[in-house]
Structure formats: C-alpha cells, structure tokens
C-alpha cells in the first residue's frame, strides 16, 4: 500500500517537473526569439523584415559597414556616449553632496526641500517640454548636448535625493561624530567617510544616470535638430520608421540595435546585483 502511494507520488512529481520544464522552455523561446531574430537580421544581405527564421540564408557584414559609411552611426554613438558620461559624472556629484546635507544636517528649509523634491518627482520634466524648449532658446542652448545633460541631471535629482539620503541615514552617525572630534571638516567627512561607505548606492545612481540618454527620446527629439548633434535614439528611430521620407533601412537598423544592445546588456548583467538592491531600496524609502 505504502509503495503504491509512493509510486503515484513519484509519477505525479515527474509529470509536474516535465510541465515546469515545458513552461520554462516556452518562456525561453519567447525571450530569445526576438533577440536572436534581430541578431540574424543584422547579418542578412536582404532587406526583408518579414523573415520568420532566426538565421538568414546568407551572411554578410555589409549592414555594419553601411551603418558607418552611409549613416553617421559613429557620430550618434559618440554623442550619446558623451551625454551618458557627462550625465553620470554630474549626477553623482550633485546628488551625493545634496543627499549628504539632507541626510546629516538640520537646517531651515530642509523639510520644504524634501517635500518639493517629492512633488517635482510627480511632475516629470518632460511634461514641460515647451518650457524646456523655451528655456534652452532663452539661454542659447538649443541643439546643444550640454543642455540635455543639464536636464537629465536636474530631472534625476528629486528621486535620487531620496534614494541616496535614505541610504546615508542608515550609516551610523557615530562615525561622523568621531571624525569631527578628530578635527575633520564636513567636506572631509563626506569625501573620506560617507562617500566610500555609500558606494553601492552611488554606483546605482551612476549606472542609472549613465543609462538615461540611451533610453530617452522625447527630450532629444525636442531639443536637438542638427544632424551633427543627432543621438542614437533619434537616428535609430528614423532608421526603423517606415513612415518618414527617408527610406528605411531595416538591416542597418538591426546592426545598429545589436551594437547598442550588446554593451548595455553586458553592463546590466555585470551590475545586476547593485541594480536590484538599488531599485528595492528606492521603494523602501517609506520605512
């Protein structure tokens, strides 16, 4: 009797396991198909976006060459990389010093500052596109990559302040106090103690700021108009768009997509741990 139920349980668990494997395999196919398909297209000599197979019949590198010869892909890439690096540097600088002050000191207007950060966070800067355009025009910063950097950094402040501040508050205050007793200045405490200890969260905001220009389209579309300043988002959108006047070049688009996605995917995988804890701690700010 006992053996029988054991057998039945075993059969049941094998069935369950098989079903799980089937589901996981389906999930993997769903995930991988578009990725492999676009990689395949990037090597396809024929410009055919209706192709269903993953791998093309013939293989060519022409799509990649065309990207650099016919289109200004390297310029788009450089412009975006410039935006990414500058945004990252300034964002880390501004957010760290501001969050430090909010985390460690009491001063007049602190509560008002945090409250306005929260309110502004709910009013994303892109909702005020016209205003940003006019401000850029006013300061002669239209069609200027640095204007985008400024907007990205400013836009990141309200949310990052909460994130970094929350993290710094978790560091014991006794460390700072000991340093002050030893005669350290506030700036030294920030640079030599708080900054190194907050490294994980700073890595997180650095990474997120670095990513912003690769993902944004709206602001770039509004503020950039010369082909000299064109970014990846703008260039790729045009390559993929079948409605614009310029004939679309689907295989070149695929090659471009691969060249963007490959390094970014690797970065994400490398920083995965920081990112998930970072996002998680961002939402736990209420605790």
């Amino acid at each position: 009797m006992k053996i029988k139920t054991n057998k039945r349980a075993k059969a049941k668990s094998i069935l369950a396991r098989t079903l799980i494997y089937i589901e996981l395999i389906i999930a993997v196919i769903i995930v991988l198909y578009p990725i492999l398909w676009i990689i395949g297209s990037s090597f396809d000599p024929i410009n055919n976006f209706g192709r269903t197979g993953i791998f093309p019949k013939n293989v060519t590198l022409n799509n990649y060459f065309r990207l650099f010869q016919k289109y200004d892909y390297s310029k788009w890439y450089l412009n975006t990389a410039y935006l990414a690096v500058m945004t990252m540097l300034f964002s880390v600088f501004v957010n760290t010093i501001t969050a430090f002050v909010f985390a460690r000191f009491n001063f007049k207007g602190k509560k008002a500052g945090m409250l306005s950060a929260t309110i502004l966070q709910m009013f994303p800067s892109f909702m005020a596109l016209t205003a940003l355009y006019m401000i850029a025009l006013n300061f002669g910063m239209l069609d200027n990559l640095n204007m985008l950097v400024i907007i990205y950094v400013a836009g990141s402040i309200p949310i990052n302040i909460w994130l970094v501040k929350g993290n710094m508050q978790n560091l014991p205050k006794s460390i700072d106090e000991a340093a002050y007793i030893d005669g350290a200045s506030k700036l030294q405490v920030l640079l030599k103690i708080i900054f190194p200890l907050s490294f994980p969260i700073i890595t997180f905001i650095a990474f997120m700021s670095f990513m912003t220009p690769w993902m944004d389209y709206m602001l770039q579309r509004f503020l950039i108009n010369s082909s000299d300043k064109r970014t990846l988002a703008l260039g790729m959108f045009e390559l993929s768009d079948h409605n614009t006047a310029t004939p679309s070049d689907f295989t070149a688009f695929s090659a471009g997509a691969v060249l963007i996605a490959a390094p970014i995917t690797i970065l994400y995988i490398v920083f995965q741990k920081y990112l998930i804890t970072g996002i998680a701690s961002g939402t736990n700010k209420g605790e």
């Binding site: 995930v31 676009i38 269903t52 600088f93 006019m134 993929s240 998930i276």
Partner: protein
C-alpha cells in the same frame, strides 16, 4: 544708529556694513547691487532714461521688461515680416518668469543685507567686535549646508520648477496653433482651457477615455508582468528543477536590453507583413494578417504583451531574491500539517513575496502610468478614432500630451491636462507621503 545702518544698507547695499567698519562685507553687498543695477541699466533702461529710445516698457532693462512681459504677454504682433518692432509672447513669458525668480533672489539678498547691518550694529553696541574675515569663516561653517545644496537647487529651479510654473501659466493662456507667436499675441484667458476640456464634448470625452485607458493600462501592464515574473520565479525555484542559474540568466535578458531598441524591434515584428504574421500565415493558423498594431483591441493587447516581455524579468529577479529570505522551517511546518506544494506556496511563499514586493508594485503602476516608450514606439497611439480629439485609441495621457504639444501645437490644452494629472497624482501620493515614517522623523 541701528536703524540708520539698516536704512543705509537699504538704499546703498553694504552702506550699513561700511559704517560698521566691515568694509570687505560691505563691498561684496555693494558689488551685488552693482550687478543688479548694471544689468538693468545696460540692457535698456539707460537708453530709456537718457531718451535715446522711446520710453516704453519694451525698451526697458531685463527686469522691468520681464515683469511687464509676464503681465501683458506683449502688445504688438508681428503682423507681417516687415514689422520690425514686435513682441514674442511666449519668450516674454519665459523671460518674465526667469527674471522674476532672479529678482526674488536679489530681494532676499537685499533683506539679508539690511538685517545684517542691523544685527552687526547691535553686536557692536554691545561691545563685540566682528571682522569681515571672521564673519565669512563663520558663514562658511554655518552655511556649508546651503552652499552644498546650491548647485542642485539651481538645477532643479531652472529645469523643474520654472518649467512647471511655465506649464501652469500656459494653461491659463490661449497659446495654441491658432495663436503662434510672434505672428499673434497670446492672451491670458483664465480658466478657459479647463472649461474647454470639460464643456466641449469631444475634449471632455477624449480626456476621460484616454484617462480610463491609461489607468487600466497601468494596472494591467503591472499585473501581467508581475504575474508572469512570479510564475517564472516560482517554477525555477521549484524542487527538483535543474540548471536554476541558467534559466534565470536567459530569462533576465529582456530587462538588460535597452527598452528603446526592443520596442522598435517589436514594432517591426508586429507589422502586418512582419514576421509574426508570416509565421502564423505559413503555419495555416490564420488566413488574413492580424492587425497587431492597427486595430484597437489587438494593438492594446500587443502593447500589454510587449510590456510583459520587457518587464517580467525584473519582477522575476526581485521575487527570486525575496524567496530566498523565506525560512525552510515554515515550509516544513506546512508539510507536518499535511499540506502540499500548493499550500506551501499559497500560505507561506505568496504572502511573504507580496509584502516584500508591494512597494515595487506601486512604483511599477506609477511608472506605467507614464510609460511613454511602450505606447509611442509601438503604435504611436494609433489606430486613430474619430471620437477622439487628436488622440488614438492606444494613446495614454503622456503620449497624448506629447502629440498635443509636438504635432498639434495645442499647448494650452496640453498644459491643462498636465496640471490635472499632476493634481491627481500629487493628491494621492501627497497623502501617502505624509503618513510614511521617514517623513515624520525628519
């Protein structure tokens, strides 16, 4: 004497400080006033005063003209290209806001300078002696905090606060494609944009329909992605499943890919003559191409599915992390009570997972509410619907605002919609914020 010092400083900045023998400090205040006066005079007021140009506000300096522009929004339209003197209402508005904000700062410094002259005099009369150098040192120490937040504050002021003010003001004007400056002068029209949104049936119904779809989208998108992510996390972590790490590494990929690229790829895959349709046609499952992105029902489904593809890995990773924190003893306890795998999941794992990830679900709903990319890059808001004003049936509020601004130039309506959304979100999260502990502690 105290009063005299304060009055001196009120008229000539730093005057009181000089009387107090704090020459350095006095000089700094004086220079600040100098900058203010110089900017105002050199940008036009001097010419007006000396009679070089006609005495109108238009010809005045930066600050006077700014205030005038903000109040009137200009008077002379550029009726033809030969009109040489004209006002650009929107430029006047933005410069008006900026100059008002800058002016406010000068006013604050002015008040500080008066107060400082008064207080220093009080100290001197009490027999204390404070030199400028000491004061600066003291100031640096005390206002380290303020100095450090200044860069961030200025950035937020110009890139967030002023644009928000601008948006709010635009909502009270008639700035749209019928009145594009400088050809026309924009006017203050009070609440007309808001009443239009409510009273003109097509605007009102578009707003309500888009809002309903936006809210449903935000919830559906979040829960499909969460559900699929939860399923994968649970299955990968199930007993007896091998290669856990390999499954996880492959399934995390969509999260690591730049969303912009993935969305553009899906847009191609979903075309009427695209790969998905070809596949289904060839397999004989369908006879006619499915309008994945061009009929309302299919387009909405496609967006939700693509969003699921993009966002489930994040939830999967998050839930996997949450599951490792569940102690195995709890599961053993269920076994002892005669429970099976489902019971373990239902009564132990799921409650823990939901508690740990609840804030993330809320955040995800909020993000999807403004998920521009998922809609704009896939369908661009299409298909169009004659019942909707300047919107398609897949448009969410943020893409509608984007199109109202960029394509249709309905700036006033777009601003009014932004304000309504803002009030909506701010009220909900404002109440929420006030209740959180971290806010009360500070």
């Amino acid at each position: 004497m105290k009063i005299i010092c304060a009055l001196c400083s009120a008229v000539i900045w730093g005057g009181g400080q000089v009387i107090n023998k704090q020459r350095l400090k006095g000089l700094v205040f004086f220079l600040i006033q100098g900058v203010l006066v110089f900017v105002e005079l050199s940008t036009g007021t001097l010419d007006v005063l000396t009679g070089k140009v006609e005495a109108t506000f238009r010809n005045c300096g930066y600050f006077t003209k700014g205030l005038w522009g903000l109040v009137t929004l200009g008077e002379i339209p550029r009726a033809s290209s030969s009109t040489l003197v004209y006002d650009h209402s929107v430029m006047l508005m933005i410069t008006g806001i900026i100059s008002t904000v800058i002016l406010l700062f000068f006013v604050l410094i002015w008040i500080w300078n008066i107060k400082d002259a008064y207080l220093t005099r009080t100290q001197i009369e009490q027999g204390k002696k404070v030199s400028s150098v000491d004061y600066v040192k003291n100031l640096w120490n005390k206002s380290f905090e303020y100095i450090m937040i200044t860069p961030g504050a200025i950035l937020v002021l110009f890139i967030s606060v002023i644009p928000v003010m601008f948006s709010m003001l635009v909502a009270f004007t008639n700035y749209n494609h019928n009145a594009i400056p400088p050809r026309y002068i924009v006017d203050w029209v009070g609440f007309k944009s808001f009443t239009d949104l409510v009273m003109i049936p097509i605007w009102g119904s578009t707003f309500v329909k888009v809002l309903i779809w936006t809210v449903s989208w935000a919830f559906i998108a979040t829960f499909t992605a969460y559900g699929f992510g939860l399923l994968q996390a649970v299955l990968i972590n199930a007993e007896g499943i091998r290669f856990k790490k390999a499954w996880r590494s492959i399934l995390i990929l969509p999260w690591a890919m730049p969303a912009l690229v993935s969305l553009l790829v899906f847009r191609v895959l979903f075309k009427n003559t695209g790969a998905f349709n070809n596949m289904l046609l060839r397999a004989g499952i369908i006879n006619d191409a499915i309008p994945f992105l061009s009929s309302t029902g299919w387009a909405r489904t496609s967006i939700v599915l693509v969003n699921m593809w993009l966002s489930f890995p994040f939830f999967m990773a998050l839930i996997s992390a949450a599951m490792t924190s569940i102690s195995p003893e709890l599961h053993e306890a269920v076994e002892i009570d005669g429970g099976n795998g489902w019971h373990k999941f239902r009564y132990i794992s799921l409650p823990t997972i939901l508690t740990v990830t609840a804030p993330m679900i809320v955040m995800s709903v909020a993000n999807n509410f403004n998920n521009f990319g998922a809609v704009y890059f896939l369908t661009g808001g299409k298909p169009l619907d004659p019942g909707l004003q300047m919107a398609g049936t897949t448009d969410i509020l943020i893409t509608w605002i984007f199109k109202l601004t960029l394509d249709y130039r309905m700036y006033n309506i777009a601003a009014a919609v932004s304000i309504l959304i803002f009030i909506l979100i701010a009220t909900v999260s404002g109440i929420n914020m006030m209740r959180t502990r971290s806010f009360k502690e500070d």
